[in-house]
């Protein structure tokens, strides 16, 4: 006992002296020679990723994905367990995510820190289609207002997917670890598997991720039968080399994606080849002044569309459509620590996209020839984003505020129709008009966001956020030009069968969002929680559509499909997401049981024509009962949605009926193995997903137009081993 203060020479002091040397009686002696008191370890885990505000991010981690990867290979579908997240159905692994009424390219989606641009007039290869649930490490989702540092050029929520984070071995050791999984799904005879492998020393790490999935057409419930054009197959591979050095972490990742076919029930075309390869370099370092994070990437996409068998196949030439995309960019971010004044975050990014979309002529076709249809001639979309953000935490309050500017430059070359025959008249005139106009566009988009997180008490937390986010139109919204019936119906990602025409005069969408969330929680992870989150978004210059004309049949009678053009209107969306969970019992004999649930309600309105917005998810939710005992985990989900009555008349959107589905799953974990048996839609209920679109594959074969059926009963089995 040294350094005894001589201020007080009282008896109490003497007792103190003695006691401090005998005090650690319940403890073992400190491991150090001097009496330095050892505080408990501080664990800094990377599992949480690098969220600037962990509190507002809803995270799906590897364990959650392992529990659900047996049921679906569609990452966007698995995200629908988060309140406020839905999806526009598309191909088997290409669902377009929707967060609080804003979909697809309105949502800021990144995979390993990189935005992946769309490379298809039907948005058949969205960013999440390049991921497989079996090889994802974690997904972070923000449904409300998000900080500007997480991305620009989007007006909705954020989805950040992380795959293959590097793992290192302890000094002097070698690490060999990984995970292998496989699954089979009876509905559609779907099967696939994945392998993740990490080999690492204490400074170098090499991770391989590979996955394969395929399925045939799936069946709807009861008598709805086969859903045509819903088969798919794809494989993804990536290799990540990482080095842990004295100046920081370096990563170099490269990968390849190949899909030989993916049917799209709600599009006229199917995807017949998608090839993509990428390189992604990353540096992260921590210094005394703060943190630095830099990323550079390149991706090359080659995407082809035509008809799979259900839509007629390619024996007669089909209708080939080829899109090539090259994208490259960098992203630099610095977190500067200001001591007591918080953290200042500054960042800059540049994204370059080049897109070429042409439809080769078909020999012997009067309409599709003799020249290629030039849909998009080497369009470029370049974006330079910069932001400044400040974050400070004091007491139970955290404040994050930032502003952002995105400069968007777009340009494209001249276009050409298939030919100059009578059948191509509309397209000829449209091409002439398009080529006569200037195509260069430039937008300077200012965005800002402010978030307040406040701990009201031990039990309650409040989040308040306001954001103004701006999104420039994408290449197809601006530069699609075809006015013929067939050429316009090749454009669009809405799954409704309608034709879409671009608009050179489109202005960027500007969204003002107010979101709040109140979370009540008690008992930590084993306790209960309840969260209620209202929001309101007003979008100025929302890109909606106006009707150009009805498509008529041979007799000149209007059909159910129409031709539309993108145009700026005003819209508002408001709603409420509610979620909660409560533990029911926990004891040695009966294990642990809990109940959780969520419900979402939203209302979207086009303020210009006072009609509902397209594809609004009706009131929906889920209730889940979970139980775990020994190695068994059981889960029963009741998923329900009410009927969709609010429909967009401009797009002839159909109503859908309400439904409730029951899913059940039992998983058994033994050591490193996990076996799963699950029943999806156990009662084979016939239903149509509210955001499923129209079944054009079936229409082609039967002449009957119906909404795309939801998946009927499927018995799924899965296997997973960690080593």
């Amino acid at each position: 006992m040294q350094k005894v203060s001589t201020f007080r020479a009282s008896r109490r002091r003497a007792c103190l002296c003695f006691l401090s040397s005998v005090a650690p009686l319940g403890l073992s002696a400190p491991a150090l020679a001097q009496e330095a008191i050892a505080l408990p370890d501080i664990d800094i885990e990377s599992a949480a990723g690098q969220d600037p505000v962990p509190a507002i991010v809803e995270r799906i981690d590897r364990a959650d994905l392992r529990a659900r990867q047996t049921g679906s290979s569609d990452t966007a579908r698995l995200l629908q367990s988060i309140p406020g997240v839905d999806g526009y159905s598309a191909g088997g692994f290409s669902t377009l995510p929707v967060i609080r009424g804003l979909e697809a390219q309105r949502v800021g989606i990144t995979v390993d820190g990189v935005t992946i641009t769309s490379a298809c007039p039907n948005d058949m290869n969205p960013p999440l289609s390049y991921t497989d649930p079996q090889t994802i490490a974690s997904i972070g989702v923000i449904t409300g207002v998000s900080p500007v540092s997480l991305g620009g050029d989007s007006i909705g929520g954020i989805i950040a997917v992380e795959t293959a984070p590097p793992q290192f071995a302890r000094a002097g050791e070698t690490l060999l670890t990984g995970e292998a999984s496989a699954f089979y799904r009876s509905n559609g005879d779907g099967f696939g598997g994945a392998l993740s492998l990490t080999l690492a020393s204490d400074t170098l790490s090499l991770t391989y991720n590979g996955s394969y999935t395929q399925a045939d057409n799936f069946e709807g419930g009861e008598s709805l039968g086969t859903v045509r054009s819903s088969e798919f197959a794809k494989t993804d591979h990536s290799l990540n080399l990482a080095a842990q050095t004295n100046i920081g972490l370096f990563e170099l990742k490269g990968g390849y994606h190949f899909s030989p076919y993916e049917g799209f029930p709600n599009q006229y075309m199917d995807m017949t080849v998608n090839k993509s390869w990428f390189v992604n370099g990353h540096y992260a370092g921590a210094f005394d002044w703060g943190d630095l994070d830099a990323r550079a990437h390149y991706r090359k996409n080659d995407h082809e569309m035509n008809f799979l068998d259900d839509k007629g196949g390619t024996a007669g030439g089909g209708m080939p459509m080829n899109t090539q995309v090259r994208q490259a960019g960098y992203n630099v971010k610095a977190d500067i620590l200001l001591g007591g004044a918080g953290t200042l975050r500054i960042g800059n990014e540049f994204q370059h996209q080049w897109l070429n979309d042409y439809w080769p002529p078909v020999a012997g076709s009067l309409m599709m020839g003799p020249n290629p249809y030039i849909n998009v001639n080497g369009a470029k979309r370049n974006r330079l984003g910069s932001f400044v953000e400040w974050e400070k935490t004091w007491g139970g309050i955290t404040l994050i505020a930032g502003i952002r500017n995105d400069q968007v430059w777009m340009n494209t070359g001249d276009v050409a129709p298939y030919g100059t025959g009578m059948m191509q008249m509309a397209d000829m005139m449209a091409a002439a008009a398009f080529n006569a106009a200037g195509h260069r566009r430039h937008n300077s988009n200012w965005s800002g966001s402010a978030l307040l997180l406040y701990d009201l008490s031990e039990l309650a937390k409040l989040e308040l956020g306001y954001a103004r986010k701006v999104r420039s139109p994408n290449i197809y919204e601006r530069y699609s030009w075809g006015r013929g019936s067939m050429s316009s119906r090749m454009i669009g990602w809405f799954g409704d069968g309608n034709g879409y025409v671009g608009n050179l005069d489109l202005k960027p969408e500007k969204a003002d969002t107010l979101s709040a969330a109140l979370t009540l929680r008690d008992g930590g992870e084993e306790g209960w929680f309840f969260k209620v989150a209202p929001y309101y978004t007003h979008v100025t210059d929302y890109i909606d559509v106006v009707k150009l004309q009805n498509f008529t049949d041979m007799m000149g009678m209007p059909t159910a499909i129409v031709q539309l053009q993108f145009t700026n209107q005003d819209a508002e969306i408001y709603g409420l997401d509610v979620s909660g969970s409560v533990p029911l019992w926990s004891n040695d004999r009966f294990g642990k049981g809990g109940l959780s649930g969520k419900a979402s309600w939203l209302r979207g309105r086009n303020k210009s024509d006072n009609a509902p917005l397209y594809h609004q998810m009706p009131l929906s939710g889920a209730v889940s009962l979970e139980h775990s005992l020994a190695g068994f985990e059981t889960r029963i989900d009741l998923i329900w949605a009410s009927g969709k009555d609010r429909v967009d008349p401009t797009r002839n959107e159909p109503r859908t009926a309400g439904y409730a589905l029951l899913d059940a799953q039992v998983a058994y974990s033994w050591k490193a193995y996990r076996f799963t048996v699950a029943a999806e839609n156990l009662f084979d209920k016939a239903y149509s997903a509210p955001l499923g679109g129209m079944s054009l594959g079936d229409y082609n074969a039967t002449g009957v137009l119906r909404p795309v059926p939801g998946r009927g009963r499927s018995i799924n089995i899965g296997f997973d081993v960690k080593f």
Partner: protein, 212 residues
């Protein structure tokens, strides 16, 4: 002389008895496999703390969960600042002192009626202060970096709670992680001054940062 020795022995064994009884419940969350002493074997109530923002000490591992619920946020000191304007946690919310000290304030302890009570108050104050220092460092920990290593720091505070010395006691082998650990420690300063009860004690601590 004998009486003094006896009373000291009595006090010592009383404290030892209390410590042993309380440490019985510490096994399940003692967490770290290290056989380093964890001072919180003295304070099992911390594990039962309802606070979810700052994990139970030692930090609760984010074990695999089958629900996609929001993770408890990394600690941002969920307590409201009610004692003073700065951002230290309100000790009054801590339940560790329930059996020992009046919860109202750590500054003013009731005058000890007998040596045993006063020394237990002193030990409680010492534990509280250690917990406070630990929580402050924890609150400033960085987010994950996907780098692996363990760096142990040794630091000393003076009577005002200011950091007078901080050094790498055991390097992680990676200079960046060492730098990050030191930075985290410096970001946690200034620490609050130690309470009067433990004035004069050497405030030298070691803390191990585990990056994973």
């Amino acid at each position: 002389m004998a009486a003094a020795a006896l009373s000291l022995l009595f006090t010592g064994s009383l404290v030892a008895g209390i410590l042993t009884g309380l440490s019985g419940t510490s096994q399940q969350w003692a967490g770290a496999e290290s056989d380093r002493p964890t001072l919180f074997t003295l304070a099992p109530e911390i594990a039962a703390s309802k606070e979810e923002g700052a994990p139970a000490i030692p930090p609760a591992k984010t074990a695999a969960r089958s629900r996609s619920r929001p993770l408890p946020p990394t600690p941002v000191f969920a307590y409201g600042a009610e004692q003073s304007g700065d951002d230290e946690p309100s000790i009054t919310r801590q339940s560790i002192l329930v059996p020992m000290v009046d919860q109202a304030s750590k500054e003013t302890l009731a005058p000890a009626a007998d040596p045993a009570e006063s020394t237990s108050n002193v030990e409680a104050a010492w534990n509280v202060y250690q917990a406070l220092v630990w929580r402050r460092v924890l609150a400033h920990r960085p987010t994950g970096l996907h780098m692996l290593g363990e760096a142990t720091l040794r630091f000393t505070l003076n009577a005002d709670g200011a950091l007078v010395d901080a050094a790498i006691h055991r390097s992680s082998g990676n200079r960046m992680l060492d730098r990050l650990a030191l930075r985290t420690l410096r970001a946690a300063t200034p620490f609050p001054p130690p309470p009067k009860e433990i004035e004069g004690r050497a405030l030298t601590f070691t803390v191990n940062f585990r990056f994973s």
